[in-house]
Amino acid sequence: MSTAIRDLHDAPAEPAVNYLNASYGIKSWLLTLDHKRIGLLYLASITVMFVVGGVAATLMRMHLVEPQGALFEPETYNKMFSTHGIIMVFFFLVPSIPATLGNFLIPLMIGARDVAFPKLNLMSWYIFITGAALALYGTISGGVDTGWTFYPPYSSLYSETHVVAVALGIFIAGFSSILTGLNFIVTIHKMRAPGMTWFRLPLFIWALYATSLIFVLGTPVIAITVFLLGLERLLHVGIFDPAVGGDPLLFQHMFWFYSHPAVYIMILPGMGVISELVTAFSRKKIFGYSFVAFSSLSIAVISFIVWGHHMFVTGQAIYAGLVFSVLSFLVAIPSAVKVFNWTATLYRGSISYEAPMLYALGFIGLFTIGGLTGLFLASLATDVHLNGTYFIVAHFHYIMVGGAVMAYLGGIHFWWPKISGRMYPDMWARISAAIIFIGFNLTFFPQFMLGYLGMPRRYAVYPAEFQVLNVLSSAGASILGIGYVIPLVYLAWSMRYGPVAGPNPWNAKGLEWTIPSPPPTENFEEVPIVTEEAYNYPAIEAHHYPDAQGVARV
């Protein structure tokens, strides 16, 4: 099978001075204003958070092989799943692609030298670290046991864990998101190179733009919500306490008003990455550019009006249920459009199967399943049965892990040569992609079945009849875990021992591939002038010759 990687022996030597070695010392990294270095700072931090959240997940699955629980008392198990959720959602998934790949690539892709507000960018990272440190402190000093959703009155009046510390960590990290989103929006509006019109932008930029809109508009609401919860816990004022006239459901409305758009924060950037990967590895223009671009925007907009589908069984009015159900079906359509467009991009392409493409194809398949299972939950009558069960757990893991994490890994592998200047061993990368795909399905598919059978989520012990499926799931989790460890090893190895990659090892289109790998600090020596559309891969025009009957055929 021929590969996309040009023969690396012909690659020009690594540039002597690039952003990695332009200055040395820890201070030059901790006080950097270079968006590329900041992207790497984020990469290191969220990898640490991913490991913490992943360890919690591993322990959870090990515990669940026994119906009476194999490892922990319920109290500890409850802290495990809460920690896993909080860390993975707020400190891994939300920043993942935007803060690492976004920070690194947005200026490169639009032909700019940096983001609009470099100092704000660095401050965003410090804010993130502060929030993460606080959350880790809360975890280490005993953790929280409220679930990542913190529903009162349990979290406000009954839980005896470090809710305030962790909530404060989330509050602080939220500002990191807001400032990053603000930075991105201004950068994309104001700093595109001459000739880079909106409709020549790579779709990754469209996706991040839509994501930044959600960052900026949604995050303040979780900030207020968590702030009120903290005040409630500290001052016992009773906002969410029914005994004094408060309403616990108000918390749920406010919480989900952010947290639903938040899940689109987690997936939209992944979709942007997939658009890049699919085009690069089939050497073709994306099918339906404007449809994909506008679907990102419409997902962002509609995501703000579907939050009530998390509350169908709370006793809310039937009317409310109907409205949220129809809107939730509506939000599925743009995602479906994207999947069809990506698939059609492969048509008549010239496809190669390096690791990034394997991740992209895995994403398309798993996201399709995850997204379609969302229909079960948008549908009122089935949601009544499935809400609060493992079906929900399986659904969101298909999207978050089978979708977002695979896109993240695919993106890291695709742009790794640009980031580090080195190439990783592709065979190992393909093997781990396959291991991840297999392990993932084995872990989470049984959970759909568990959910329909009625096993509720967040259960530390469960009826014995659910054991077989739980054991299958835990077996899959161990495979998945191995699949995640391997890339850490070879990516680190490649930084020192991998072959030099050259500016464009994939022969891909895009401004980021026109500069050396690793790029110089100022990105472009001369500001590029853009004259062609995105993904302008050379293509043969299909000719239409009329045949003997005068009918034109391709």
């Binding site: 099978m1 021929s2 996309a4 319920p74 529903y151 009155p153 349990y154 009046l157 839980s159 029914p242 005994a243 006239g245 616990p248 089939s282 050497r283 073709k284 099918f287 339906g288 550019y289 069984v313 006793g315 039937i318 249920g321 109907l322 159900s325 129809v326 079906f329 359509i333 479906a336 459009v337 069809f340 698939t343 048509y347 392409g349 010239s350 496809i351 398309i364 398949g365 399709t368 399943i369 379609l372 079960f376 948008a378 009122l380 009558a381 089935t382 009544v384 049965h385 609060g388 069960t389 079945m449 329909y452 059978l453 509720p456 077989v468 891969y537 050379p538 293509a539 043969i540 299909a542």
Partner: protein
Amino acid sequence: MIGFLHTGFDILATVPFQPPAASSIAENVDMLYLVLSGITAFFTVLIFSIIFVFMVKYRRRKEDETPVSTHTPLIVELTWTIIPSLICAVLFVWSAALYVQNGRPPASSAEVFVIGKQWMWHLQHPEGPREINELHVPVGVPIKLTMTSQDVIHDFYIPAFRIKKDVLPGRFTSLWFQATETGTYHLFCAQYCGTNHSEMIGWVYVMTPTDYANWLAGGEKAESLAQLGERLFSQYGCDNCHVPEGNGRAPSLVGVYGKPEKLQSGETRVVDESLIQQAILTPNSVHLPNYQPVMPTYQGQIDSDQMLELIAYVKSLGSEERNLK
């Protein structure tokens, strides 16, 4: 090795695909679930196969080959936007219809009261019997559950009946079902509520009408909820002001359940379980025009069980049909 696989398959074969379908709505829900699964499987297989075919057919054969360009006809984009939209519309209408239908308990439902608290279920039949973590019901009779929580949010879930509803502190939510098969079915709490959330489980026993009648009659002779409520009504002094004829200090409560009342604040509320509870706990928030706000609050003096008894008593006032056996 073969033996190992054999055992493996034997074990897998014991896993059912769905819980027992034991209520009047279960089969409808299962049908919808089946169709949704079919659609999911269809599109998954479709996408997977198309991708697989393309992966093989269009794999790169030479390093510098140039693909043929494809254009994006609008008709294709519209087709695959409109068809999924239509499918979603059909699913929505079907599901919403089921949901609305399942939302209204039949008028002839028998009632059971449920109190959820960390970490057990208190079930209260109006005739008197109380159960903990167990619910005995007759088959074929619609049952309406009126539920509240004593502390945090719980969720009452019977997978076999395909029903679920959150149970909230400070207010009442309701659920109804009609069991269609006798048997024993799981009852779970499905909203995380603290340390022993996973132990807040129980059983629902669906019995033939005769067995149920026997079960009701057996056990200690318990008074009905309304009878207990009548005693509390007197014990807490409610009957000093709320006399049946209405003496000017407080409105009569005869026949008041289910009627709309216009409050001092101007809004009109229907007298239901929530309003009665609110009147007992925060009387000034619902006092009527033409009456002085002199009713004392019973906050902290009446627990959830007593609250149910009082509510049952008020409901029984003035309605002969509601006389409880």
